[in-house]
Each structure stands twice: as C-alpha cells, then as structure tokens.
C-alpha cells in the first residue's frame, strides 16, 4: 500500500547515463544507488555522515550520499566510483593507489578515490597538509593514511 505524497519521480544522470525512477521520499541517495540501481561501489560505514565511505560527486561538489535524499538528486549529475575508470582503464588516481599500496580492505577506497579525484581537479599540486585536509572526512581503519597520502601525492605528480 503506497500513499500518494510519500514517493517522488526523479530524473538523475549518473556517470553520464540518465535514470528515471520513482523513489520513496525518505530514501537516502546512497540506498538509491546501491539498492535501486544495484551500484554497489558506494559504501556505507556509519549513520551520521561521519565516515565518508559513501562519498560521491553531485553537480561537481563532493557529497556524502548518505546525507542526501534520493529525491533531492532530481535533475542532478552524479559521479560515482563506477564511472571513474573508463572502459576498464584506471585513472592516474586509481593507478597510484595500486602502486603505493593505498588500500587494504578496500571499503573506504571508493570514497577516497572520489575525494582524491575532486581534490586534484581543484588543486593539481597539493601539499601534504592539503591532501590530509582534503581527506579528513574519510575514515580509514586499515592503512593509517600514510600510503593514501602517498598515493594522492603520486597521482598529482603524474598529472603534473
């Protein structure tokens, strides 16, 4: 039994592809991505918007998709981890994470790749301090952040 007013029709572009859907008003964007669209790459690590595992880019802005309703994404252009590599070709950020051992369990990795990608678009030669500041919203429990910082610095160096 669905009551009128508790769902919303939305149109959203994700990694360049248009999607039309009817979403429950209360559905979080991250659940829309994962459950409705089957895009499992964006992860959930908390319920308070603290951990960054759900990080995506919405209309060019780094966004925690658990802090946004799917309904709010109507008309938006969203980039998720699935859209980063092109035809299986990893980007410099992804390659750098691989070469510098910037991931262990991989759970925080999609969020970090999005954060790193977003940083390097704005700041092609970040200092270590700027890198750490840019990823302060992403919790990683495995790596101690050392190799993540090295990965991002290396990717910046690559692009330079």
């Amino acid at each position: 039994m669905v009551e009128a007013g508790t769902v919303q029709a939305i149109e959203v572009t994700i990694n360049g592809e248009k999607h039309e859907a009817t979403v429950p008003a209360r559905q979080l964007l991250v659940h829309f991505l994962r459950d409705s669209l089957g895009m499992k790459g964006t992860h959930i690590g908390c319920d308070t918007g603290s951990c960054g595992a759900c990080t995506v880019i919405v209309d060019g802005r780094l966004t925690k998709s658990c802090m946004m309703l799917a309904a709010q994404a109507d008309g938006a252009e969203i980039e998720t981890i699935e859209g980063v590599a092109q035809n299986g070709e990893l980007t410099p950020v992804q390659k750098a994470f691989h070469e510098q051992h910037g991931l262990q369990c991989g759970y925080c990795t999609p969020g970090l790749v999005m954060a790193a990608t977003f940083l390097l678009r704005r700041n092609a030669e970040p200092t270590e301090e700027e890198i750490r500041r840019a990823i302060r919203g992403n919790i990683c429990r495995c790596t101690g952040y050392m190799n993540i910082v090295k990965s991002i610095a290396s990717a910046a160096g690559e692009a330079a």
Partner: protein, 835 residues
C-alpha cells in the same frame, strides 16, 4: 615444557617471496567491484532489524509485537522467549563453573544485561520498514541497578547479572612463576603502583557486521553469507544451539571491510537471524547500523591493575612484579574468558623478568560484551609492563633507554624461554630501539627538551613503546581457563590444484579483511611451482563447500603468514611433486631431470623435450588411459594440505606451556609536545621498527604497521568507550567516538629488521595486530614530558583533559599513587610517596 625444534626447509626468497608484488585484490576494489556483506542479495529476502534495550540492566516484563506485525510489509518478528523455544541448548560456554552456567540464547530472555542487548528481531520488506517495525515493538522493562565498574562487579553485594551463576566473577586464577615474594624481599628497590587502567575501545572496522542467512526449508541447510571472520568458531557455538549439524551449517565470506577481531563476535546475531529465517521461511538480510555496532558488536578488553609491586635491583635489573588484574567481560561471555590466559603469551613482555605473579579476575558488568579486539589481551598486559618499566625509570632516575636495553631479552638469548614456558623465537630488540630513536632524532630532541625549560607553555616528551605481536597461538591454553575444554594446537588448510586446462587454483581457509591473502598466497605458490604469479588464481574468501578448512580457520591473531602460507606452501609442494612425476612419465625422463619454468616442464639437459601444465592436466583429467595404472591411482593434481604447528598440550595446573609459535616485535619511539594550557598532545615525530621475521611482501607488512600505529594512536589520544553510572554508552556514533583521521595521524617513519623464525616453514612470523606500541609510546612520552611534575601516567587513554590534569597535578595536590621503598645496605630506609 617443550622447546620447539627449528624446521628443516625454510622458504628461500624466490622470484616473488620477499618482493613488493602489487596486489591482485586492487583491481576490483578500486573500481567499486568488491563484494562485501551488504552486496549479497537473495531472492525473496527480507531485511532484519534488531530491537535493542535502552537499559543497561533490566527485567523484560513483556514484549508486545502486535503493532509491528500490523505494519504492511512486515514478514515476522522473533522474540527472545520464542528463540529459546526454538533452540536445543544455550550457547556453549568456554568458562568453567560457575560461569559455565550462563544461559545465553541468540536473543535476551527474561533480562537484558547491557545497553543495546537485543530482545527481538524484525523481518520486513525493506530496510526502512524493518526499522519502523522495530520501533513499534513494545517492550516493557523493569530497570535494575547496573554495575559498570570492573572491580566493584566482583564484590559480593554487586548487582548480579546472571542469577544462576551466583557471582559476577566469570573467572579467577593466580598465575605465579618464579618467586616474586622472595624478589620483593631481596630487591634494592620496590616500586608500588596503586592503579593502572587500560581503557575500553575498539578498532571499529569501517564495514559493520552483515549477513544474509537462509534456513532453507527444502534441504534443512543453513547458509550464512557474512563477514564473520572466524566462521568455524561461530559454527561450533551456534550449531548445537540451533540443532544444525556442521555439514548443514555452511558459512561463506567474500570481501570484508576490516574486522580486527570484532567480527569474531557476530555469531549470536547470526544465530538469531537463522531462527528468524526458519520462522519466516525466507532468507534474512542484515546490515548492521553503525550505532548498533558501537552498542553491541563488541569492545576491546578494559583492564584495571591494582597494587602492582615491582622488584628492582640497584643496577637497574628488574626482577619481576606482582599485580591484581581485573578484566571487564561485559554482559555476556563472547569468546571470553579466554582473554584471562591469552595475555600470558607475553607474560614478561620484551624483558627478562623472572618473577611474575598475576592475580587475575574477570568480571561480568552491564556493558557491551568484550571481543578479541586487535592485540587481544596481550595489548593490555604489554602496556602494563611498559608502564612499569617507564615508571621505574622515572622514579629511580634511570635513563629509560638504558633501562630498557638492560632488561630486554638480548639477541643472544633466543630461543628464549619465558617464566611460563613460552618460547620467544628470534629478534633484536636493542637494535630495533636504536633504529627507532635515530629515526625520531632522539638526541636532538633531548637537547631541545633541555633548552625549552619552564614558562614556554610547551613541554617536549620523548617516549618509547616496546611490544610483541605473538602469533599462531596454541589453543591448548584454553585448558588453563577450563581443563575440561577439548582444545589444543592450531592449524590452517589450503588447497592447490591444476584445473582442467592446467590453470593453478588456490583455495584457503582464511577470511582476509585487507591482509592481501590473494596476493601473498599467489607469491608463495608461484615460487614453489615455478610459474608467474599471474598464473596463480587465489579464490577470494572462505567457503565451507570447498572443504578447505579446519576448526581454527579464519583470519585473526596474527597468524596468516605462518599458518595460511605454510598450508599454501605445503599444498603447492605436494602439487609440484605430482606435476614433476607426471612430466617425467610424459617426457620419458627421471623426476630429478625435470625443471619447471613459467608453467612448462622441461628436461633440464634437453629443453626441446617439454610439456606445459595444460598437457599435464589433460593426462589426469580427460586422458587418463595413457597413464600407467600406478600413476592413475596416485596422482589427482588436487592437493590439500593442513599446516599444523608442533605444539604440545600446556600444563593447566602450572599454567605453563608453549602458548605461541612466533613473536614479532615492534619498537616505537615518538616525540610529543604538550600544551600546558590545554593539555593538547601534538606528535612531532613518530617511528616504528618492526621485526616479523622473513617478510613475504615488505610493502604489505609496512601497511599493516602503519594501520596498527594509527589505530593505536587513535586509542591513545582520541578513542574511548565510556559508560555512565547507569550503564549508558556515551559514544554510540562517530560524532562522539572520534575515529582517528588523516589530519590527526602524523607521518609514521618505519624501518624493519628481519629475524627469521626458526620455527616456521617460511621463516616468517605472523604480524598485523601490532601489539599496541603507540599506546605504550604515547604514555611514555607524556610521562617524560612531565618528569618535573611528579605526574604518573596511569591510564592508557590520554585526551586533552586528562593530560591537562597531569600537567597541573603538582598544584592540585592529588595523590600520586606511586610509593618507592629503597633499601640501603640491607636496611629498609626510605619511603617516598611524593606528597
């Protein structure tokens, strides 16, 4: 009492072992194509949500599920009383009597015993509906007084958690090796420390617990697709409770988003989900919310040490110590009280203490049950020992570096037998310490510290944290806790085969959560078989249907490099032998003339005569009539190996035995700057020197050292689970539980020593947990910074407020909690208590 004999054939560094081979796991994880617990989906599944107690201690008066069931889309609700009816027996208890009388079922029955204790579970069509429905379950509680203090819980008048047990003492025992009373009698100095407290925290893996559990009505088989990291332990406990035999309780895992020991503790929830699935006739999907994780997944051991007395000689030799330890198990015993013996793997820490007495009490309290958090039980004891060494240095005026080096187990002492019969395999602690101090520029900072003086508003401190990471434990130590337990030894299984077209396939019994098993196992197997590591496919995750498991299978306790890789090595060696024999037949040569290169077998003296793996596989799989009968019977190209370490059963009466096979070490050093006005601790330098024997993949080892360091620093400065007097958890989300971030974490300088273990097939030692060196090092640094203050760092958690109190402790006239008695020329002369 045994000394482990060195093994015969250590794995040589080949093409891949010892190299920084990049990880095969990365490709899928970097593209968001990993398969984690919430990614698993089953047709007809419902979503589960637990109803949890808001009270720390209460009687369950009634549970009314009618409103929940009336909600459209709700499939079923299960209460504790129903769960008990459906169970054959309560959960198996490790504890001896009387704590063995604890009756725990998958959901709370009659009483709740901690804030977050689950009383019911709801199954509904969507995640959101399950949560709505859980909110509609009406539970009436009669609150009871709660006990949250570990020591108070042991008192006779404390509120009783489990009535049938009659006490909150889950276990008590006295460990007594050497003769500490003699040592204290004859020591030149006795340092008495009133109270040391190791706090409660958790590694909080980024991925919470999750599972899809299906009790299939057709086959009466329960399938558990989860991120539980010790599936056979879970199976051993919940199988008899559910009344499901082992061969119909099938666990599997895939990618796991960190575990750190916490995901050993999800078996009660999994059991509840199995019953819910059976009741509802549907698969049950559960993805734990972070809040639920903080409340109920499991916390690390909190331990209080009272009345510690240390015997010290004039020359700085520390003879030993006695202490009364109180460990906090929480509301139920999940894996506890094993922690009551696990610490004794490192009874003397890095040091040559000969006399140790620990009066150990484990108590039940109205808090979240304890689980084996990273560094399980050894962390707490190693911290105690480092505090002892640090406080002794501070009180008696010894140089903390010299005192440690003097008392360390020396390089020539290995293999070193400790007072309780454990054998430290190898290491070089003094050199590790020297390297760590050099990395932080200790001399320069000591100079700077002297120059800084009073009145600058800042204090510099240099700290040292020495620790061991004991790996591959002998489960026989469980008998020291409870002699009735039929457990001993350890082991891990691996399966290496050539598949239909000659592909090399590996299955493991492990449940990796970021430790790179697919990559390192491929390195080992590739070197044994003489193939490129890209030719070796390691199937990710654990699957019982592969039959590649033993009771100890899983990933925990810093043992994979030994147990998992030795199993893979053994299976690969068996396979290599089969391949060589078959090649010898095919090429009409002797076996010792055959060499393997990149997946092809050659006759060494005539390389024209060759057969690739695909040809070998063909002979066995689809063309076996060309083989003589004796080869057909003997070779299958499917080789299973179980590595079993050479343990004996420990002696429960003497509480002695060879409890762990390997001892990796980590020596950390740091420089901190304390702000006198705020108590903020800034880390100016940090270095970690690890020694884990032969490193299979150095970069991966270093990543583990980084990770352990960050979590240790997080616990030292930012992370704590605290309960108020009503048993309400104060940190149930990442707002309040400050998980360490990239901004908080300093640059971690690392160096390594490789002291191969003589006891393992590959010379490696398990590592990964780390041993909590940052906690020891930060406490040591704060102690050093405040050496003028007479402050005593006595807590493992030092947030700003606590440090501020330490800075100003002199002014505040608080008791120091340390008394030194010194003997001069045979007479007990002075007693200084710093008042």
């Amino acid at each position: 009492m045994t000394t482990t004999a060195p093994t015969e054939t250590p794995l040589e560094t080949g093409r891949y072992v010892g190299q920084n081979v990049p990880r095969v796991e990365d490709r899928r994880l970097l593209q968001g194509q990993g398969e984690f617990a919430d990614d698993v989906w089953m047709h007809r599944q419902g979503y589960a949500h637990f109803v949890r107690s808001p009270h720390a201690h209460a009687r369950i008066v009634s549970i009314d599920v009618r409103r929940a069931l009336e909600l459209d889309g709700v499939y079923a609700v299960l209460t504790g009383a129903e769960a008990k009816e459906m169970c054959q027996v309560p959960f198996f208890q490790i504890a001896p009597e009387p704590a063995g009388q604890i009756e725990e079922y998958p959901l709370a029955v009659d009483k709740v015993r901690y804030h977050g204790d689950a009383v019911a579970v709801v199954l509904a069509e969507t995640r959101e509906l399950a949560r709505d429905a859980a909110g509609l379950v009406d539970v009436e509680y009669e609150p009871l007084p709660a006990v949250v203090d570990t020591v108070a819980a042991a008192e006779a008048d404390a509120p009783l958690l489990h009535e049938q047990v009659g006490t909150n003492v889950a276990w008590h025992g006295t460990y007594d090796w050497g003769d500490i009373d003699w040592a204290l009698e004859n020591a030149d100095h006795v340092v008495e420390i009133d109270r040391l407290h190791f706090h409660r925290f958790s590694s909080t893996p980024l991925e919470c617990n999750g599972a899809v559990v299906n009790w299939d009505p057709g086959t009466d088989t329960v399938t558990v697709s989860s991120n539980n990291q010790m599936p056979m332990f879970a199976s051993m406990v919940i199988g008899p409770t559910l009344g499901v035999p082992s061969n119909r309780l099938l666990f599997n895992t895939r990618d796991i988003g960190g575990a750190f020991g916490i995901k050993i503790g999800s078996y009660p929830q999994i059991a509840a989900l199995a019953l819910l699935s059976r009741k509802a006739g549907r698969p049950v999907k559960w993805t734990e919310y972070r809040t639920d994780h903080m409340l109920s997944a499991g916390h690390g051991n909190e331990r209080v040490f009272l009345d510690t007395k240390v015997a010290v000689m004039r020359d700085g030799t520390i003879l030993g110590f006695k202490t009364r330890a109180f460990d906090d198990a929480g509301g139920y015993l999940h894996y506890e009280p094993l922690g009551a013996v696990i610490w004794s793997q490192v009874c003397c820490g890095c040091y040559r203490f000969k006399h140790i007495q620990v009066d150990y009490t484990e108590t039940l309290t109205n808090k979240c049950p304890t689980v084996p958090n990273r560094g399980y039980s050894r962390l707490q004891h190693l911290w105690l020992i480092e505090r002892i060494v640090d406080i002794v240095a501070h009180e008696l005026g010894f140089d903390p570096v010299a005192l440690r080096k003097q008392n360390y187990v020396q390089p020539d002492d290995y293999p070193y037998e400790t007072p309780n019969g454990c054998v430290y395999d190898s290491g070089d602690l003094p050199r590790s310490l020297d390297i760590a101090l050099e990395l932080i520029g200790a001399e320069r900072w000591r100079q700077r510290q002297r120059e800084l003086g009073r009145g600058s508003g800042k204090r510099i401190g240099i700290g040292i944290g020495s620790t061991l990471d004991s790996g591959t434990n002998n489960f026989g130590q469980a008998r020291i806790i409870n002699p009735e337990l039929p457990f001993s030894g350890n082991g891990e299984a691996a399966y290496v085969k050539l598949d239909l077209y000659g592909e090399v396939n590996v299955n493991l019994g492990t449940t990796p959560q970021g430790q790179s098993h697919e990559t390192t196992a491929a390195q080992v197997v590739a070197d044994v078989l003489g193939v490129s590591h890209e030719m070796v496919h390691v199937t990710a995750g654990f699957d019982q249907r592969n039959n590649t498991y033993v009771a100890f299978s899983g990933t925990y306790a810093s043992q994979f490099a030994v147990t998992g890789l030795a199993a893979a090595q053994g299976a690969a060696e068996k396979l290599r032998k089969e391949i060589v024999e078959l090649a010898a037949f095919a090429l009409q040569a002797d076996a010792d003339e055959i060499e393997i290169e990149d997946g092809t077998c050659y006759v060494r003296s005539d390389r024209e005569r060759a057969i690739p793996f695909i040809g070998i596989a063909n002979l066995v799989y689809s063309n076996n009539a060309v083989l003589p009968m004796e080869l057909r019977d003997r070779y299958s190209l499917n080789c299973r190996h179980v590595y079993v370490p050479p343990f004996q059963v420990p002696d429960p009466a003497a509480k002695r035995g060879n409890l762990t096979l390997t001892y990796a070490s980590q020596i950390h050093a740091c420089v901190v700057e304390i702000d006198e006005e705020t108590g903020e601790v800034a880390i100016l330098e940090y270095a970690a020197v690890d020694d884990c024997g032969r490193r299979i993949n150095p970069k991966i080892v270093e990543g583990q050292v980084h990770g352990a360091t960050a979590l240790g620093l997080g616990a030292a400065l930012y992370e704590a689970f605290e309960y108020d007097e009503d048993g309400q958890l104060q940190q149930a989300s990442f707002y309040d539980y400050h998980a360490i971030t990239a901004l908080d974490t300093p640059e971690i300088k690392t160096a390594d020593i490789e002291s191969p273990s003589p006891f393992t097939p590959n010379g490696a030692k398990g590592m990964g947990e780390g041993g909590g060196a940052p906690l020891h090092a930060i406490c040591s640094a704060i102690q050093d910074a405040l050496s003028d203050e007479d402050a005593v760092v006595s807590d493992s958690h030092n947030p700003w407020e606590r440090v501020w109190r330490l800075v100003h402790s002199g002014e505040r006239g608080e008791p120091r909690g340390v008394v030194v008695s010194s003997r001069d020329g045979g007479e007990s002369v002075s007693s200084r208590d710093g008042s």
